[in-house]
Assembly symmetry: C2
Homo-oligomer: 370 residues x 2
Amino acid sequence: MFKLGQEITSDQAMRFSIETAKLGRGFVSPNPLVGCVIVDSQHKFLASGAHLRFGGEHAEINALKNLKDKSKLNGARVYVTLEPCAHEGKTGSCAKALSKYPIKEVYYGLKDPNPLVAGQGLEILIKNGIDTYPFGKYEEECEEVCEQFLYHIAHQKPFISMKVGTSLDGKIALASGESQWITGEEARKHSRNLRAHYDATLIGAGTFMFDDPLLDFRGTGYEHEKKNKVIILDPKGKAASSFKDSKINKKHGPKNVFVLTRSEFSEAWAQNLVHVINWDSSKDSWNQALKNLYNKGIASVFVEGGSYVFGQLLEHQLVQKIYMYQAPKVLGAGKSWSDFLKLESLSEAKVFKKWKTIPLGEDRLNILYF
Amino acid sequence: MFKLGQEITSDQAMRFSIETAKLGRGFVSPNPLVGCVIVDSQHKFLASGAHLRFGGEHAEINALKNLKDKSKLNGARVYVTLEPCAHEGKTGSCAKALSKYPIKEVYYGLKDPNPLVAGQGLEILIKNGIDTYPFGKYEEECEEVCEQFLYHIAHQKPFISMKVGTSLDGKIALASGESQWITGEEARKHSRNLRAHYDATLIGAGTFMFDDPLLDFRGTGYEHEKKNKVIILDPKGKAASSFKDSKINKKHGPKNVFVLTRSEFSEAWAQNLVHVINWDSSKDSWNQALKNLYNKGIASVFVEGGSYVFGQLLEHQLVQKIYMYQAPKVLGAGKSWSDFLKLESLSEAKVFKKWKTIPLGEDRLNILYF
């Protein structure tokens, strides 16, 4: 955080704008995370703001609100991760709001991804005498910060991330089934926090029955702030009878639970008062189920296993990102997280385009993009 | 490399001493890799030297040789990765050689690991008016540079490293057996270079028959400089009949090949004129076989698979280090490099104490120590 009046570079301003955007994580969906930093004509820090909650003010408006003395905006520069919006939606147009002040320049990380409105915010600014420039640098970071939004707007279905906690030889359990715990507490807490950055958590019926998980945010800042939707994939209808007494039912309530299952099991599941979505493991049924979830307000999904779910999503190339927590251990023979993906030849291998690593205690988090 | 007369810090001197030690990699076994840097009384760089070949001069002698004007040694400081030797062996005592000059101080990375002679080199220096100090910093790096030596001197058996080329889900082949190639050319070349840092390469009979590998150093600086011994683990005597026409026989010759097999197959193998060592998969037989190899001059072994060999060595805790090349890919169902290790419970997991990572093209090399 910079102090009012502290001189900062344009580089620092944009990087801080990206960091500020992250303050809204978990609360803005299906909107994008956006950050905004304002500096004065001497490049002294004036204010920052983020879009913090869906339905709340946008980043630019919050930054303006955070600046008491508006006279300092004479000749000011604004650094925003995403093009200021043109339209009047739940909140007013950000481009119009900025135009009320004698701001000199607006630097944006990305243009609006919607081709129908891209550039309209910039046009309003230009008409009002504010110069606009693409920042050029940190485009990748600006994309990552609103990756869920960019994806669901382009594809009209949820952005999907998988979370895997594995040994260095790719195992998630011993042959005996023993699986708790492979990674350390720091990694597990980190993943509970990540869970909150998504609209819904997806697990398979096996994980549901075997682990009876809470899928909560204990130990993180989201603990009392947020509840996720839960999606259960139950190909064989096995979990319907265990739902009533499950922790998920007690914690989340049936209205927040979506079950993907074959039509013959939908009636059994419907008795639990959950949302039932038809699914038959084909790519088509996946796409329809995901569109269905999207239309019910789920724009991002965090997938926590087990390996049948992972295999299905990998096979149909429905995963955008993998969070792979690796513990510095060898487990040997046992269950691999990727066992259900069957390839005919090495040329079919699922290849990651981007690979970043963060140390977490003894473990490491690999962030992988397809 | 520093220029003669360039002022350098003691930190730079010790780090350069460690880098210089690496010049002897692959050629000094069973001796340690040692590096030496000399600076004058004003901390200006004078010379560096390494132990480059078994039977050749030690690092200190080579550094002295690399300095033409010995008058500059008045008040000089010497930075050496390992305590200068006291004894007169194939070459003279380094401590005595240094003592001939008006050197002021010797900083050493490690004391001689042999408790019987530790400190004797230092004593000679001190008697001759040279102050000696442990450098304190970079002890881990000094240990790593001569890790093979430190291990085999302490245990009287070879230092063992495993090399694994794997996908991010721990697979080394598809279910069909297809395995070439998972990692990229840069990683494969890197591992051919590593192979040369060891006295011998160990493979299983399956790898021997299926791949018919050359186990050479093509594309590296070792290509025409060095030949390794080859060790074949053949539990079922299956490979004896394929040996005559194998690339290993043609490239390395039977005198450089050691076969570990059960007694009932030793006769068949002996007909190939290779060295046959009795082995029966028990920990005892492993230890005896390794002592046997050690007594035949093999102080370090580079293990290249397959998974039966890996499993055996992991189970009996005979591996000191793993080089794990990871490709940014998911292969799904298939063969894992650790399939032959069977654990009863998670508490038996083989845990790494140290984990370093180096990017290699698209892939990454994880260097792991037990």
